[in-house]
């Protein structure tokens, strides 16, 4: 509180001592410059780099965020190094395992197969390890596609406004009026037969209205903000106001939502598999399909077929949720100090 008073008082002595020494004048202008820089920095803060730095600092101190980040990192590492980690080919059927397959028995752990066999005599551990790849693929792709379409629609609605905004938002209303899984089921049912892509697209489209609404909301808030007004006053083109000034600032909420969506997407893909609308390719190892298809079908025979992929899904979903929630908390201006 003391600094502004000296600052406000500063011009007065300067005008009275018009003939002050050069050194003194320099010092004064230096101070002014420093003060201006400071001011510029403080106004840049809500939305500039320092917000992210600030949020990141808070994120680093939050144990939930660290646990979430570690889980996500491990998940990604396993997916990348799957061929090195997995003891066997995930598709190959082993005689040692198929020999023991009967309607009432699926082989448990044995030498060389630490988690035993799956329903077709393949190594369960290797399928779980490779499953991280497909699960990551489905989750990330579904989220990215949903995010991209949602962001485009939301940005158009938020930037253009008017009747276009109205139409786009009514469409999202209609989509949001349907329960998520039901919408996904309807979308899958539209394809003549289900495949990995129908699953990805269905899960993606379910999330489109959420992203679109979210982005539109924060774009509208941006439109009223001072820095956009300043940009407009400076004569910045509408296109670049939207793309350079509004969109980057409005994206934070969307990115947080995307992290949370990743866990939902993985679970939704599993649910579709459970309903018989999942990826029909039985060679492909994906946790959701492993759990929703064979896992529950052979639950009485060998529940581990469900337990392991379920555990993997729960842990990974937990990781994304923890990290996403922590991010939301860190970015929330209420928590800024």
């Amino acid at each position: 509180m003391t600094e502004p008073t000296t600052q406000a008082g500063a011009p007065a002595p300067r005008s009275s001592k018009e003939q002050a020494s050069d050194a003194g004048r320099n010092r004064l202008s230096d101070r002014k410059k420093a003060r201006l820089d400071e001011l510029a920095q403080s106004t840049a803060a809500p939305g500039g780099v320092s917000l992210f730095r600030d949020a990141f600092r808070r994120l680093r101190r939050n144990p939930a965020a660290i646990v979430g980040a570690i889980i996500i990192a491990l998940f990604v590492l396993v997916a990348i190094f799957a061929p090195l980690i997995a003891p066997h080919d995930p598709v190959q059927r082993f005689d040692a395992l198929t020999d023991q397959l009967t309607p009432n028995n699926i082989a448990g752990p044995m030498d060389g197969f630490p988690l035993g066999s799956d329903e077709l005599g393949r190594d369960l551990l290797s399928r779980l390890v490779y499953g991280s790849r497909q699960t990551l693929f489905v989750g990330v792709l579904a989220t990215l596609i949903g995010l991209t379409i949602g962001v485009v629609l939301g940005a158009i609605a938020g930037a253009v406004g008017g009747w276009l905004d109205n139409i786009l938002m009514r469409i999202t209303d209609v989509m949001l009026a349907l329960p998520a899984l039901l919408l996904a089921i309807t979308l899958v049912a539209l394809a003549s037969k289900s495949s990995q892509w129908t699953v990805i697209m269905a899960v993606a489209i379910v999330n489109v209205p959420i992203f679109a609404r979210l982005l539109r909301g924060s774009m509208l808030a941006q439109r009223e903000s001072d820095h956009v007004l300043a940009a407009r006053a400076l004569g910045v083109k509408q296109r670049s106001i939207v793309l350079r000034h509004m969109l980057p600032n409005a994206m934070t909420a969307v990115i947080v939502q995307a992290t949370l969506t990743l866990s939902v997407a993985i679970i939704e893909a599993a649910s579709l598999s459970f309903l018989g609308l999942g990826d029909p390719d039985r060679d492909r190892a994906e946790w959701g399909a492993m759990l929703g298809d064979a896992g529950v079908r052979y639950f009485e025979v060998r529940p581990e077929l469900a337990y392991y992929p379920a555990l993997a899904i729960i842990v990974v979903a937990l990781g994304f949720t923890l990290f996403g929630e922590a991010m939301r908390e860190a970015i929330d201006p209420k928590n800024r100090r």
Binding site: A177, P179, I185, V188, L275, L291, F299, T321
Partner: protein, 335 residues
């Protein structure tokens, strides 16, 4: 108030019309349509054409849609392609089962969720708080159909507390009036049937309640924490009001506002969850109907009606929730 209601009702009608048009066009123009579904891939072009004509699919799409809407408005959704029964009949047979399940699940979620969330907030940082936070995180991370199988395994195979599936025991002679088995048996005073129906209801309802429960607990906790710091709570305490009055009238009443909205939004989660839960427990409600009309042959008339119905339920429930705001929160009434 009346204006708000009218506007919301109009919005509802517009939403439903848009949805019906969307679904109509979607379901009709895509591969694997009803004709293929009925005849299989090896049907001759002649039979195909005959059936297309019989089902009215040879007419212009706008004419078809007009007829479709005309029939819908008179309550006729056509016949199921698979069984030939009228859609309205098929759906009204399954509807009470799902409503019974979903209502029970919601009762569990609200009945457990609000007190748990409130206590967690009041004892912030203590053991119960930590447990609820971990529990809610797990609740939204677990695929509920897996939880269903897990519960079923533990409570029906290992310890025989509950029946594994279905709505009533086989061979039980219960009178069916409304289709709500618990209600029916109470009305007819067949109390053994009430007990039996409740017995079958508990596990599926708990399974279905997981996600709404987790969300409601979190919402209540966060909301109570917000309110606890409000000036009016401090004022109420400073005035020397009894603790019960402060908690009931000042904290809970204000904290529950956002929770009520959440409850409305959870209807969607309930309908989604019902599809999965009903399959796990062989429940025979709308969820089972949806699964049945999609796997194998696609039963479009049933799908159309079901999608419209669930959208209607979701929108109406949320409308009711919004309107009920006025009764809980006088501030809304003033506006």
């Amino acid at each position: 108030m009346l204006r708000v209601i009218v506007r919301r009702l109009l919005q509802l009608v517009v939403t439903l019309i848009a949805l019906s048009a969307l679904i109509f066009v979607w379901l009709r123009n895509l591969p694997g349509g009803p004709v293929d579904a009925l005849l299989g891939e090896r049907a001759t072009p002649e039979t195909r054409a005959l059936l297309t004509k019989a089902l009215g699919y040879d007419q212009p799409i706008l004419v078809q849609y007009g007829k479709f809407m005309q029939r819908i408005l008179t309550g006729d959704f056509g016949n199921s392609i698979r069984t030939g029964d009228p859609v309205t009949e098929v759906i009204s047979r399954a509807f009470p089962a799902t409503v019974e399940l979903a209502l029970t699940a919601m009762l569990i979620a609200v009945g457990l969720g609000v007190p748990l969330g409130y206590l967690a907030a009041r004892w912030r940082g203590r053991l119960l708080d930590h447990l609820t936070v971990v529990g809610t995180l797990l609740g939204v991370s677990i695929p509920i159909f897996f939880l269903g199988y897990l519960l079923k395994d533990v409570f029906t195979q290992n310890i025989h507390w509950f029946p594994p599936s279905g709505r009533v025991s086989i061979g039980l002679d219960n009178t069916n009036i409304t289709g709500f088995f618990v209600l029916d048996s109470l009305l007819t005073r067949e109390f053994d049937a009430t007990a039996d129906a409740l017995w079958h209801l508990i596990l599926p309802a708990f399974t279905l309640a997981t996600i709404p429960l987790a969300v409601i607990v979190r919402m209540t906790r966060a909301s109570v924490l917000d309110v606890l710091n409000e000036d009016y709570v401090r004022t109420a305490e400073a005035k020397g009001l009894r603790q019960r009055t402060v908690r009931g009238r000042h904290i809970l009443r204000n904290a529950l506002l956002p929770v009520v909205t959440t409850i409305g939004l959870q209807t969607g989660a309930l309908l989604s969850g019902a599809v999965l839960t009903e399959k796990v427990y062989n429940w025979g409600g709308l969820g089972t109907l949806i699964t049945d009309s999609i796997t194998g042959s696609r039963d479009y008339p049933i799908l159309q009606a079901l999608i419209l119905l669930s959208a209607l339920v979701f929108v109406v429930v949320n409308l009711v929730v919004d309107l009920s705001y006025a009764f809980i929160d006088p501030r809304v009434r003033v506006r």
